[in-house]
Symmetry: none
Amino acid sequence: MSERVREILSWYGSANPGTLTNLSRLLNHGRLAGTGKLVILPVDQGWEHGPARSFAVNPAGYDPRYHFELALEAGCNAYAAPLGFLEAGAREYAGRLPLILKMNNRDSLRNEKDPHQARTGSVQDALRLGCAAIGFTIYPGSSERLEMYEQIRAAAEEAKRHGLAVVIWSYPRGSDLDGKAETAIDVCGYAAQIAAQLGAHIIKVKLPTSHIAQDAARKVYEKEKIPIETIADRVKHVVQCAFAGRRIVIFSGGAASSDDQLLEEIRGIHNGGGFGSIIGRNSFQRKKDDAVKLLQRVMDIYAGRGA
Amino acid sequence: MSERVREILSWYGSANPGTLTNLSRLLNHGRLAGTGKLVILPVDQGWEHGPARSFAVNPAGYDPRYHFELALEAGCNAYAAPLGFLEAGAREYAGRLPLILKMNNRDSLRNEKDPHQARTGSVQDALRLGCAAIGFTIYPGSSERLEMYEQIRAAAEEAKRHGLAVVIWSYPRGSDLDGKAETAIDVCGYAAQIAAQLGAHIIKVKLPTSHIAQDAARKVYEKEKIPIETIADRVKHVVQCAFAGRRIVIFSGGAASSDDQLLEEIRGIHNGGGFGSIIGRNSFQRKKDDAVKLLQRVMDIYAGRGA
Amino acid sequence: MSERVREILSWYGSANPGTLTNLSRLLNHGRLAGTGKLVILPVDQGWEHGPARSFAVNPAGYDPRYHFELALEAGCNAYAAPLGFLEAGAREYAGRLPLILKMNNRDSLRNEKDPHQARTGSVQDALRLGCAAIGFTIYPGSSERLEMYEQIRAAAEEAKRHGLAVVIWSYPRGSDLDGKAETAIDVCGYAAQIAAQLGAHIIKVKLPTSHIAQDAARKVYEKEKIPIETIADRVKHVVQCAFAGRRIVIFSGGAASSDDQLLEEIRGIHNGGGFGSIIGRNSFQRKKDDAVKLLQRVMDIYAGRGA
Amino acid sequence: MSERVREILSWYGSANPGTLTNLSRLLNHGRLAGTGKLVILPVDQGWEHGPARSFAVNPAGYDPRYHFELALEAGCNAYAAPLGFLEAGAREYAGRLPLILKMNNRDSLRNEKDPHQARTGSVQDALRLGCAAIGFTIYPGSSERLEMYEQIRAAAEEAKRHGLAVVIWSYPRGSDLDGKAETAIDVCGYAAQIAAQLGAHIIKVKLPTSHIAQDAARKVYEKEKIPIETIADRVKHVVQCAFAGRRIVIFSGGAASSDDQLLEEIRGIHNGGGFGSIIGRNSFQRKKDDAVKLLQRVMDIYAGRGA
Amino acid sequence: MSERVREILSWYGSANPGTLTNLSRLLNHGRLAGTGKLVILPVDQGWEHGPARSFAVNPAGYDPRYHFELALEAGCNAYAAPLGFLEAGAREYAGRLPLILKMNNRDSLRNEKDPHQARTGSVQDALRLGCAAIGFTIYPGSSERLEMYEQIRAAAEEAKRHGLAVVIWSYPRGSDLDGKAETAIDVCGYAAQIAAQLGAHIIKVKLPTSHIAQDAARKVYEKEKIPIETIADRVKHVVQCAFAGRRIVIFSGGAASSDDQLLEEIRGIHNGGGFGSIIGRNSFQRKKDDAVKLLQRVMDIYAGRGA
C-alpha cells in the first residue's frame, strides 16, 4: 500500500477496519490505484433524467452491463449506480471492480422546488451485492434537507457498523437558492462541510464558480481575501472546507461544453488538491472507445502525467 | 472529589451512577476541575453558519484536530461538536478530554422563520466515540418545538439508560419571537425552565438582556420587582428558573464586541451564580495563543481568581 | 379499605389488579384517604406559563422539592408534574406520596389557536420514578385533537399493561371554540365523555359555566330541561357525562378571585357529587402555611366536615 | 417516613426511585410499618409440598383468598405467593397489602438431589398484578445453581428497570450438602452473601445452626473466633455477611416444634439485628385467630414490645 | 497523556474511541496513572470463597464501601467486583475511580472438577453503574470452557459496541489439569494466548511456575531453550504469548506467604515486563493502613521507584 493511501486512511480514526478495508478497495483499484486519487463512474441518470435523455445518444448504455464494462476498461476506481443497475450486473462482474450502491434517488417526472429523494436501496442490498460503499444524495437548502440528513445519518450508522464506506453527494438546491447559487463557491464549500459533519468518508460536490450567494458569507470572503478566482483556488477552498483536506472530496464535471474545457477543469481540480472526479454523462454518453480515452486522459492528469 | 462537585451530583437523584460518573468527568476535567464551574468549547458553527464564516478568520480551525488541541491547551471542561468533527479526532484524542456529541444540527442555507434541526448523531455514536454526554438544541417558540421536545425526550431516555449525561441548548426562536425577544430575560428564564423540565442535566441558554418580551410576564416581573438590571441579576434569575439552582446552567457568550466586554459579562455570570460558559466563536476565531489566554482569563474569573 | 374506595374500584372491571392497586394508592393517601375524594397538587405551570409567572409570587416554588413538601404537608392524594420536576425529587421523596407523571406538555412562547402538546415523558419514566399514574392532556376542539387522542391511546395501553393508572386532563380548546365555549357546560360534559371513552381512569375537566356553546346541544339541554343553573347542577351533569358517575371526575379550580369564592366552588363540586379538585396556582402561589390551610379547608369540605 | 426506613433506603444507591418506592411500600405496611422490620407471609407450600400436606390441617387455606385475609388481619408487611394464588385474589385485595410474586417454583413429585426451579411468573405478571417485588429462589450448592443465578440476574435486571424490588430466597441445597449443611452457619452466611452479590434488595435465608459444614470455613471461624453460639450471634453474623448489614435479611422459621420455641427464635433474630421473618407453615397451618395471635406476638418482638 | 499510554492505546487498532477512552481511564487513574502499569483491587472472594473466609480476618471488608475506600486510598487504577458490591457503592463513589463489573461468578458450595461460572451481571449493568470495563473469567481446561468462550465472546461484542473495555481472567482449571498444571508456564502462556485471541483488552493470569504440564509443549520449551527459570523469565514469556506484548497482561499475586515474598514476585513481574497486578486477598485481608502501605510499595516497584 502506498504511503499516500496509508496517509489518507489515517484520517479516518473512528472508522472500523472493515470500513478502512473498503476505502482502500476504492483507493487501490484501477489506473489511479495507490495515488490517492479517484475517478468514479456514476450512472443514475436513467433515473434522474429518464432513459432516453440518458442513453439514446449511445444506446449501448441502456444495457446495465455496459457501464460495468466501461468502468473496467477505463480503469475507474469504482462504479456507482442505483439498485436495479447493480443487481443487473453484480454477479457477472463480481470481484472485478468496487461498487457503490446509490441508496437514494429521484426522478424528474415531477420537479419540486424543494426536492427530496427516495431511499431505493439498503445497507443489506449493498452487502449482498458486494459493494464497497453506499452513496447518498442530500440537498442542503431544500426544505426537505433536515429529513434527508436524518436519513443518511441512520443509513451511515448502519453502513459503518457493517464495515462499508459512506459517500455523500452534497448538492445544494431548494426554493431559496437560484441556479447560480447552487454552484456558488460559498454554497459548495458549505455543502462539503455539511457532508463531512454528517460523517461521510467521501464527499462529492459540484465544481464551484466564483459567485458568492450568501450575503453573510460574502463579507467574510472579501474581508479574509479568500482566493476564489481560478478553479484551483476554489477547489483548494472546498477541500479546506472538508476538514482541512482530511476528507476525500471529489467533483462532478459540471457544465463543460467540450472535452478541452472538461480537461481544463480537471487540471484545476488536480492543481487545487482535489481528490478526483465523478464523471457520468461525459463518459457514458459517447462511444465506449471515446469514453475510455477521455477518462484515461482525465486519470493521467490526476496521476500527474497529464499537465 | 470536591465538596462542591459532590453537592452538585446530589441534585441528580434520579440519574443512575453511570450518568453521575459522566457528569463528574465533565466537572473534574481541566482548569476548573472540582470548582463546580464549566467552560465548554463548542464547535458546531461550521454546520450552523458555514465553514468560511466560521474558520476563515483563523484557518487552523478548518482542521478538526485543532479544536481538540484548543480545548486541551486552554483546559476546558469539555469539547462539544457534531458527529463528523468528533469522528475526525476521537481516536487520536481518546481519553484526553470529555466529549459531548452535538446530536442535532441545522445549516443556514435555508432560514426558516420557525426553525428545526436534524438529528445527525445517535446515542450509539456517543458511546462508540467515548462521549460523556449528548447535546441537543431545542427552539422554544418555533412551530417545530413540540417535535423537538419529543426528539430530545426519546434521545435523553436512551442516553440516561446508557449512563450518559444530557445537555440541552435551549434557544428561543420562531415566528412569534423577534430578535429582541430571543434574549429577553423572561424568555431566557422560560427556556431554562423548559430544558430543566425536559430532564436536562446541563442547560445552556443565551445571556439575557433586561428586555421583557411577553406581556403576561412583564406584569409579574414588575409586580414582584424581580431584579433584572445587571447581568448578575439576570443570571441569578435564570439560574433560579432552572429549579432554584439545582440544575447546571451555563451561558453562551452573546454579542460581546470586545474582550473586555466579554470578561465583564463573565464576571456578571460568575457573580450571579451561573455555572459557566460555552464559548465558541470567541475562542476558535482567533489565534490559538490568544484564545488560550482569553479562555484562561475566563476560567480565572470562574475560579474566583479573576475579579 | 373503605367501602367507598372498594365501590369505586369496582367500576374499573377491565383494569388489571396492578392498575387497581395504583388507583387505590391515589385514593388511600393523605387527608382524604378512604373517602373516595381526591385533591391533587399539579405543578406544570412552570412549563405552561413560564417560571416567573408561576413561581415569582412565592419563590420557594422554584425549587422542585418545595412541591413534594407542600403536597405532603397539606395531605394531598398525589402530586402531578412533568419529568424534570419529578426527577428532581423522586429519590428524596420515594415512597412518601403518590406521583403522577404529566407525560405531555406545552409552553406558551408560542400560542397556536389549535394547540397541541409534546410527549415529554414515557411510561418507562413513570415506572422508574415510582409513579402511580400517567397524566395526559387532550384538547378536544383543536385541529390536533385526533393525533392527541391517538397518542394518549397508545400511552394508556402501555401504562395499563404495566399496572399504572391513567389520568386525562380534558381541556376543550381550538380555533372553533371561543374562550366562553371552553368552559361551557355542554363542552365540558363532552370533554368528560371523550376522556372516559378514551379509557381514562381519572378525568380532569374545568369547572363549567352555564353557557351552552353548541347549537345542537342547546336544543337538547333546553328540551330535556337539564338543570345547569348552579355549580352543583353542572358538576352533577358532568359527572353523569362520565359514565353516570362510574369514572372519577375531578375539577380544576378555575379563576376564583378569592378564597371564599374558591371554597364556594368546592362546595358546589362536593354537592354535585364531584370527586375532588386539582389545585395548582391557588396552592403553590402563596406561602406554604397559607396553602396548607387552604388545601385543608378544601379537603374538609370534601370530607364532609366543611359545609 | 421514619428515620429508620429512610436510613435503610439510603443503602440502595443504585436502585431507581421506583424500586425505592416499592421497598418503602414493603417497609411501611402493616403492624411493623416504619420500624425497618418485616414479617412476610409466604404461601408456596401448595406447590412445594402438595396441597394436602399444606392445607388439610387447616382447610381454609385451600382457598387463595384466605391467605390475603390472614396477612391483612395479622398486619404482615407483605404476602408472597406463586402466580396462581396471586391471580386468584389480586383484584379483590388490590391496594390492600403489598404483594410479592414468587417467580420460580418446584414441586416434590420428583426430588432431585440437585434441585432446580421453574420460572412460573414474569416481571410483566408482577406489574399487571400490582406487586411490589418479585421473589426468586436459588439453591447454592446445587449443580443447577449457575443456571439459577443467570435466571434471577435476568429477571432482576428487568424488575429493577421497571421499578420493582427483588427478593431472593437463598436456600443451600445439593448433592454435596447434607441436611445438616443446609443450615450450617457458614453455609447460611455464604448463601446471604451470594444473594447480596446477585443484587437482591431483600434476602431470605434459613435460621442457621452452629454447625460448620465446610472445612475451609471452619478454620476461619475458629481462628477468628467468630461467635456462633447463640441464635443472636449467628443472626448477627449472617447479617454481617450481607454487606455488613446494608441489605435487608429476613429469616424463615426453621424447625421450631412449639410456639415458645418459635418466639425464642424470633427474639434471637431480633437481638441479632435480623430484619424480620418469613413465616409460612407456622401461620397458615393453624386456625386464623391463632395464626393472627402468633404473628402479632412475633411482630411485637420485632417492634421491641415483646422481649 | 503520557507517551507510554499513547503507545499502549495504539495496539488496540480495532477498538473504537469509546473503548480507548475507557482503557485510558484505567491507565490514567491512581498512583500509577500514566506509567502504563496497573494495580487493580478485585473483590469477588466473598462470592468465590464465602464471606467469612474472605472478610472475617478484617471485618471492615464485609462493608461494600470499604473496598471503594481502600482502592481510592491506595491509589489503585481500578476496583473490580460483582454486581452486588458495585451496586452498593456506585452512587456514593460515582466518578471517583474506574470500576470493572465482574460479570460472571461462581461459589464454592459445590466444587466441580470442571468448573463453570454464572453470568451475574450484564453490559447494561456496567453502563448504568458507570463502569469502564467488564471482567469475565474463563477456565481453559474445563469441559465447560467452550461455552464460557462463547459467553465472553457475546458479552465482549456488546461491551465493545458500547465503548467498554474487556478484561478476561484466564485461569486454567479442569479435570485434566492437576493443581500443579494450573500454574505451569506452558499452561499460563497458553491461557494468555486464548484470552488475547478472544479479543480481551486486558488479560489476567496467574503468576506461573517453571513447571511444564503438557508433554507436547515441553519438547518445544526444551528444544527452543525458552528461558523460564526466574519469575522475570516466565513473565516475559507470558507477555510474549499475549501478542508479543501488545496486550496488557497483569498477574494475580499467587500464594505468597509473606510480604517480602510478594514484593519479590512483583519485582519479577516488573522486570519481566508485566503490566501489573491484581491483588485481592493480600490487600483487603489486613488492616486498611497496612493494605495501603503494601499496595503502595507494590506500586512503587511498578513505577520504577521500588527496586
